[in-house]
Structure formats: C-alpha cells, structure tokens
C-alpha cells in the first residue's frame, strides 16, 4: 500500500473517534442522540480528506502516520473543549481550519525549505523580538503573572508558540554549519570536555535568551522547553553528552538564581514543592488538577461526566481552573481515566517516534537537525505541561500541543507538522530512489 493510502485509511478511525466522542458528550448533556455528532464527524472527515488530497498532490512520499496522529490529538482536544464550552470548541474548530490553511501555505511555499537556512539570523531575531511583544504596553497581556500574550485589536496570539519554530530553525541551521568545529575544537579541561569558546558564543546567546525569558517574560515553561530543545539539538549535533551536562548545569544555576531573586519564578517553585501551604489561593490550581486526576481513577468518569464547575454557583465557579488550556490533561485523566491518559501519551510518543524516524531517514545535516529539533520541541512541550499538571515539575502556562484550546498553539503546531512533512517527503523520496525501482528514476524530472 502506498504511503498516502495508508494515511487515508488511518484517517477513518480518527473521524470515528471524533464522532463517538461527540456522541458521548451529547448523550451526557441531553440524554438523547441527534445526528449532530455525525455531522461534526463528517465535517471533520471532510476537512481531513481535503488535507489528505493536498498532501497526495504536493508531498506524495511524506510520512503517512504523522498527520493522522496529529488529527487524533486535535479531534480529542475538540471533544474535550466542546464538553467544557461549546463556543470555545467552535473557535477551536475555526483555528483548526486556519491551522490547516497555514499548513498548506507552508508546504506550498517552502518546498525547498533550505531557504530557511539563508534567513536563519533574521528568523532568530524576529522570533526573539515577537517574544518581547507581550511586554510592550498597549498590546501585551499578563496572565497569572507571566507575560505570554499579545493582543492587537481583535487578534490575539501567544508569540512563544511561533518563537519555538524560529529557534529550532535557527539552531538546526547554525549547528549544521558549526557542529564539526564544536566537536573538533573541543578541549578537555580537568577531565571535562569543553566546547570551543569562539563557536560557542551564539549558544551562550540561547542560554541568555532562556534566562531572559525566565526573568523578563516570566515564562518558566517556555524557557524550560526552549532550553531543553536546544540541549537535545546540541547533543544530536555534536554527540557530546558533556555539553548537555554543562548546559543543564548552566540552566539550573540560572534558574536557581532567579528562583531566589525573581518573586514570580520563586512562587512557581514554592507552589510546586508545597502546594498545601495555601490550598485555596496559589496552590489551588495544582491541587485541583491532582484532585481531578484522583477522581478519574483507572477508567475515568466518562466524557462529559467530570465536575469542572462548582454546581449551584452563579456565574459558575471553576473547580478546575484553566481546564481548557493548562490543566486539560487533568480533565482527560478525570474523564477517561488512567487508561485514556496513557492512550493520549502513547499518541504523543508515536508522533515523536515518527518525527525521529524522519530525522533518521533524512540525508543532509540541516534536514536531520530540523526534524530532530521540531520533534524534540513538540515532545518536550507535551512533557512540560503534562509534567506540570502531574507535579513532576512546576506547573507553567504551556499548551498541550493540538489538544489545548488556543489558536496560536494549533496554528503553530500545524506549521511544525508541515515542516516535518516537508523534510519527510524529501527524505523518503531520496531513500526510495537509490533502491532503483524500475521506472521510477525516469519519472523524476
């Protein structure tokens, strides 16, 4: 079966999942089943099919499983968000469509994605500049003490979601060019392999940027995510584990320093370590998140059956704060239980595996590093927010990719997917060619 046919078949269960999910929520809400869930399922399938046909034409060799996997997450997210608030789900569906449009635009215009390498500094600078926008008076927005959002007129977005793409592109390109020197120029000092200082300058800039984000944007989650992606790429590019250790030490020292000097960062860590100190105020979100999970048990309460507001309060008071964004994973555990949550984690793991598969197949350094970086940042983002909600690490305001409510998140992640598929299409085409299937060589223009 060809790659695209496999993709087509994989999309059918996704649409069925969405239909079944909506049916379950409707059944819970009105105790009667209309055909609305079928209509939603059909819409979703139609949109996915259109995307699939576009991929058939533009990237026939691209990985067949990534798009259905991401569509699974989106479908799951749509059901969960619908169950919280209908209007939010409608927004999310619109952003899903917008995300797919940008996905198509990316694939259409970036067929030769090496062009990104040429503009790597521009991309990096623009990426970092938009990150600062939330601090610009008038357009910046503060949420829970962190400066995460920008609002210009009716248009609101979270720059960190886009900056992560810019940073990965920059790092992939920079490391492709300098990896040799970083390896060869490394010196052993006191038994520790140190990278050459000259070429390491820009790397220090990344560290500085992460620390800057921590202090200035106060975004612990994005800071962690960026820096972890950077270390992952550095490791893959150089093969020096010592660099990762040094980097990690630098981050921890910096984070520790700022945790003891910047109140916001300090608070986040304090809440993480001692949530029961103020269960009704600062500790409320993480505690309610954990209580929601305890309520789920092995199999969960079922779609639409978990408590997210306190009954009898007007306007409804949230029992689980930020259920549609930060703590959506807790709601998932609550409604579909440990088994359902493991399913979701498994989907993230499968998508990550496919992403790294692309990196393995890619033949040139930039493609390899780009695919690695995009996959790593995707996986780490999922880890940072799920880890935050389950108290593995401090809880921060990062979205759960493809599932959390949020336009910037959906759109940026579909662009991420587009870039991965672009790399994949070329890698798989090149991998197939030398095999010399009769006739294929002649068909390549």
């Amino acid at each position: 079966m060809t790659a695209r046919n496999r993709e087509l078949f994989a999309l059918v269960p996704v649409a069925l999942l969405l239909t079944a999910g909506f049916a379950a929520v409707f059944a819970q809400e009105s105790a009667q089943l209309g055909n609305l869930s079928l209509i939603y399922g059909a819409y979703f399938l139609a949109i996915c099919l259109a995307t699939h046909i576009f991929l058939r034409v533009r990237l026939p060799n691209a990985d067949p499983y990534l798009f259905p996997l991401m569509a699974t997450l989106t479908a799951f997210g749509l059901v969960m968000i619908y169950r919280i608030d209908e209007t939010l789900a409608r927004d999310q569906a619109n952003w899903f469509v917008l995300g797919l449009v940008l996905f198509a635009v990316t694939i259409y215009f970036l067929r030769d994605y090496e062009v990104l390498e040429r503009y790597r500094y521009t991309i990096a600078v623009v990426g970092l500049l938009v990150l600062l926008a939330p601090r610009v008076p008038g357009i910046g927005q503060q949420v829970n003490g962190a400066y995460l959002g920008v609002k210009i007129g009716p248009l609101a977005f979270q720059p960190a979601e886009f900056t992560k793409l810019a940073i990965v592109v920059f790092l992939a390109s920079y490391l492709r060019e300098h990896r040799e020197v970083l390896i060869v120029g490394a010196r052993r000092v006191l038994g520790v392999t140190l990278p050459p200082l000259k070429h390491f300058g820009p790397m220090l800039v990344v560290w500085g940027a992460s620390m800057f984000m921590l202090v200035f944007i106060r975004d612990l989650g994005s800071s962690l995510m960026f820096f972890a992606a950077f270390l992952a790429l550095l490791y893959v590019a150089t093969g020096r584990f010592s660099f990762v250790v040094i980097g990690m030490a630098m981050f921890l020292v910096g984070a520790w320093f700022f945790a003891s000097t910047v109140p916001h960062v300090h608070d986040r860590v304090e809440i993480w370590l001692h949530p029961y100190n103020s269960p009704e105020e600062t500790g409320y979100q993480i505690l309610q998140s954990i209580f929601a999970q305890a309520d789920g048990g092995l199999f969960g309460k079922g779609f639409g059956q978990a408590l997210i507001t306190i009954p009898g309060t007007h306007p409804p008071a949230r029992l689980l704060p930020a259920a549609e964004t930060d703590t959506i994973y807790a709601l998932i555990v609550n409604e579909v239980g440990l088994f359902g949550a493991c399913g979701v984690i498994l989907v993230y793991l499968l998508a990550t595996a496919r992403g790294f598969k692309i990196a393995l197949l890619a033949s040139d350094g930039f493609s390899k590093l780009l695919a690695t970086g995009l996959t790593a940042v995707f996986a780490i983002q999922a880890f940072v927010i799920i880890g935050g909600v389950t108290r593995v690490i401090p809880l921060t305001g990062v979205t759960l990719p493809f599932i959390s409510y949020g336009g910037s998140s959906i759109v940026a992640n579909f662009v991420l997917l587009a870039l991965l598929l672009l790399v994949s299409d070329r890698a798989r085409r090149e991998a197939a060619e030398p095999a010399g299937r009769p006739g294929t060589l002649g068909m390549v223009p």
Binding site: Y235, P279, T352, T372, G387, T390
Partner: protein, 486 residues
C-alpha cells in the same frame, strides 16, 4: 547523528514513562488519600449529585431526605429535615459547605450508596446513576417528641431510651435542640453559642456527675464480687469520716444497720461509701468497665462525637484502676466521676436485660433504592457486667426506690417500675452561670420491672430541683409513651 537521535528518543520514552508513573500515582495509587484531603471538595460535591438516602423513624416518619435543585449538570441534591429540631440529635446534618455530623456522618457510606469501582463501571455501562440507601432507625418519633418537650420544660439535658434486649435506641433527645435545616444559614451562630451549645449532643457528649444513680453500679459490684448479699447489713451512721472530710447522709439521718433494699430505697450515702471501700478499687473498676465506663461507647455515632464516662483526674485525664481515688466518694457517684446520659441508660438496660449489656444502636435496617433490605441490625452483646441473679436482686432494690423511696415520681399506674434517682450538687458550674444551688438531676430505670420493655436515663443540668422532681417525671412520660405505643 543517528545514534544520538535514537538515544534522544530513548530519553523521551523515559520522560513519558515518568508522566505515566506520576499519572498512575495520582489517579490510582494515591487517589484514596487525595479524596480524604480537606482541600479536596470533590467527594462532597459529587455526593451532592447523588440522591442521598432517607433516614426514617421506626414508624416511617421521614427524618431526613434529599430534594433536587437545578437541572442538568447543575442538578444537585440538598438535605431537608422535615421534622426540624425534633431529630437534630442524634441524626445530625449533612451539607456540602458545613460537612456532616452524628448519625448522618457515621452512616454516610450507606446513605450515598458507596460502591466498588466495578459497580460504578457497570453503572456507567448501563446508564444507571448512583443512588443512596434509606436507613430506618429505631427511633420512636412520638417518644422522642415527648422527651424533647419535657426537657424543654425542665432545662438543658438529655434523655436516652434503649430496648434492653436488643440495644435499639428508641429515644435520644438533647436540649437545647437545633434545627438542622438552619445549619447552612446559621452555622456560625449555632456553633459559637456557648450557653445553649445546640450542636452539642448532651446525650452522648454531656459528661455529668451521675450522683446517686451510680450507687446501682456500686451495689452491682458488691453483689457480684460476693462482698455482700441482699441480706448483708452495714451500719449506716449519719456521718462518715472519709479521708479527713465528712461524708453525710441527707439531713444527717442515722439509719443504723440496714441491708441493700433499704439503703438503695433511701439512697444512703454512708452505706454505699462503706460498701465501695469493702469492694475495693479493682472490683469496682472492673464492674464499671463491664458497664461501659472507661471506653468509647459502641453506638453508631462518630467516635469523636461520643464521650467516654469514667473518673477523671485534675488535668481531665481518664483515671484507671491503679490510680489513687477516694473509693467512698466514688461509690456514691462523686470523686470527679463523670458519665453521659447514654452511659447511665446502658447501666439501666444491662440490669433490665438480666445482666447482659447489648451494644446500643440507632439504626435498624438499610433499604436499597429498589426496596430490598440489604442490611439489618443484628443485636450483639457488649458485655455481661452482672449475673442474672444479681440483676434480679438489683431490680428488686430499684423497685423499692420507685414504690416507696426517693423516686416515687417515676411510678406508672398499674406497672412496676425499677429505677434510681440522682442529684449531684454542682455549685459554681460554669455551664449554669455559676449559681450556688445548681444540681445535676437524674433518673434512670426501666419498666415494667418484671418484664422490661424499655430502659431510660433522663438528666437535667443546672436545676435547683432534685432527680425525683425534675428527671423522674420525664422518665415516666417517656416510658408511658413507649409502653402505650407497643
């Protein structure tokens, strides 16, 4: 670079494994502990969505029920107590914001219909929703009404009535009462009222000096240990010098050598003081403990809401048989001896039941939403403080108290009553406002004496009257109501 990519993937697999581990911990392994946390309002909120079972009196009177409010996801159930203050004690209340108390708290699991994880999955598959079980209590609504009305006319206090052969609690009334329906609106007022203390169940939490009612326990220890027989006489002078302080009879009356019947009928202090000294601390404490003293009562109420009866030291600590006590004063119910009305009712019930003390229980049947009886009270013996013979001898003596002694106001026409009065002087009692003439008035007993149907203790605090004046009439009214209702 491929080797590193594979290693990176392996690392991410580990990270995701950690996520699965933590999720398992919160959702399964630590889930029960998390549900117990004070900050976790979910169990209460979820219980609010379950129609909690009703609580019924023995005759079917609805004591507590749940009424729905709101619709759809907003739907929740709120507790209503149709009889208001009548059953505030011992039933208690159950509200999300204010928690629960007494019977509602003790029987919470049955009332919400707690099920296994498997049961709730079945429910989910079949579309069923959790529903609570009804509980039928032993409470006699009419007798409870009489007891509370009498108490309200007499003063703060409590009445407990127990079926001697089964331990079924027919009446448990406490004055001042409170209306559980008002708990959500008046909680702080109800819980901070230091004088009336309406949320405090005097029947199980009121620790009072039992006065002369305790002489029955002393007599039981004397007979049971073989120290005396009903014929043994002890010389009872008007005053007895004990540990440097005179122990006196009422009006300093000198009775001369008398036996148990005369001593109990006239509640002779010097007689029982000497008996206690002859019995000795070990035997007296052993009998007390068999009657239920020095232990948390085994009634179906939360253990933090029932007080232990016994001898208490200066610091309020419970004394045991090796601690130094003034035996003569203990024998007549003094010497920092404190007992709850429930405890004194248990003493009466044990004697009425031929010496066997049954575990007192308020509940009788649990009925599931389909009307099936899923559980039924199986009466169990708590202890056997005295032999049947001793019980009979004590009964005879206690009959004398009512027929010709200090407790004549407990008499019921045509029925033999056995009982004992008690009047403990409590001058300077802070709960009474510190008056000098305040008494703790008691009556405990059972009827009919030859075929006991009900054992009752009535206690009134802060009264200037005696047990026979204020507590015995309450006993009579409640006993009559129960016996007429049979």
């Amino acid at each position: 670079m491929n080797r590193q990519i594979v290693k990176l993937f392996a690392f991410i697999v580990v990270l995701f494994g950690v996520l699965v581990g933590f999720t398992s911990y919160w959702s399964v392994f630590d889930a029960e502990a998390l549900k117990e946390k004070n900050a976790n309002k979910r169990p209460l909120l979820e219980q609010q969505q379950i129609p909690r079972g009703r609580i019924l009196a023995a005759d079917g009177t609805v004591i507590a029920k749940s009424v729905p409010k709101g619709k759809g996801a907003e739907k929740r159930y709120v507790r209503r107590y149709p009889e208001g203050a009548l059953f505030g004690h011992p039933i208690g209340y159950s509200f999300v914001q204010f928690g629960d108390s007494e019977f509602e708290q003790f029987h919470n699991e049955e009332l919400v219909g707690e099920e296994s994880e498997f049961g709730s999955i079945l429910d989910e598959l079949t579309g069923g929703t959790q529903e609570g079980n009804d509980i039928v209590t032993n409470i006699d609504a009419e007798a409870q009404r009489v007891a509370l009305a009498d108490l309200e006319a007499s003063g703060f206090g409590a009445v407990v009535a127990i079926v001697p052969q089964t331990g079924e609690v027919k009446v448990m009334a406490s004055n001042a009462p409170y209306n559980p329906n008002r708990v959500p609106y008046k909680f702080s007022k109800l819980s901070t009222n230091d004088i009336e203390r309406p949320l405090y169940d005097r029947a199980t939490q009121g620790q009072y000096p039992p006065g002369s009612t305790f002489k029955v326990v002393t007599a039981a220890a004397g007979l049971e240990s073989g120290t005396i027989t009903p014929e043994t006489t002890i010389n009872a002078p008007g005053t007895l010098e004990v540990e440097g302080t005179p122990l006196q009879n009422d009006f300093n009356e000198d009775f001369g050598p008398i036996a148990l019947d005369t001593a109990l009928t006239n509640s002779v202090n010097t007689w029982f003081g000497q008996l206690a000294q002859q019995v000795g601390e070990d035997e007296l404490f052993e009998t007390m403990e068999k009657f239920g003293f020095n232990a948390t009562p085994g009634i179906d109420l939360p253990s933090d809401q029932v007080e232990t009866s016994g001898v208490f030291g200066e610091q309020g600590e419970l004394l045991h048989r090796n601690d130094p006590v003034d035996l003569a004063r203990l024998g007549i119910g003094q010497e920092r001896l404190l007992a709850t009305p429930l405890q004194i009712a248990e003493v009466a019930a044990a004697i009425a039941n031929g010496g066997k003390l049954m575990k007192p229980q308020i509940w009788k049947r649990v009925i599931d939403p389909d009307g099936r009886v899923v559980d039924r009270l199986d009466p169990s013996v708590y202890s056997e403080p005295v032999s049947a013979e001793t019980a009979e001898q004590l009964t005879t003596a206690m009959e004398g108290v009512v027929s010709e002694g200090t407790g004549t106001n407990a008499a019921i026409s045509g029925i033999a009553v056995a009982g004992k009065t008690g009047t403990a002087e409590t001058p300077g009692n802070k709960a009474c406002g510190g008056g000098v003439d305040e008494n703790q008035a008691w009556f405990m007993g059972f009827a009919p004496a030859d075929d006991p149907q009900i054992a009752i203790a009535a206690s009134v605090e802060c009264t200037e009257q005696f047990g026979n004046d204020v507590a015995a009439p309450i006993f009579r009214d409640v006993a009559e109501t129960i016996l007429n209702g049979e």
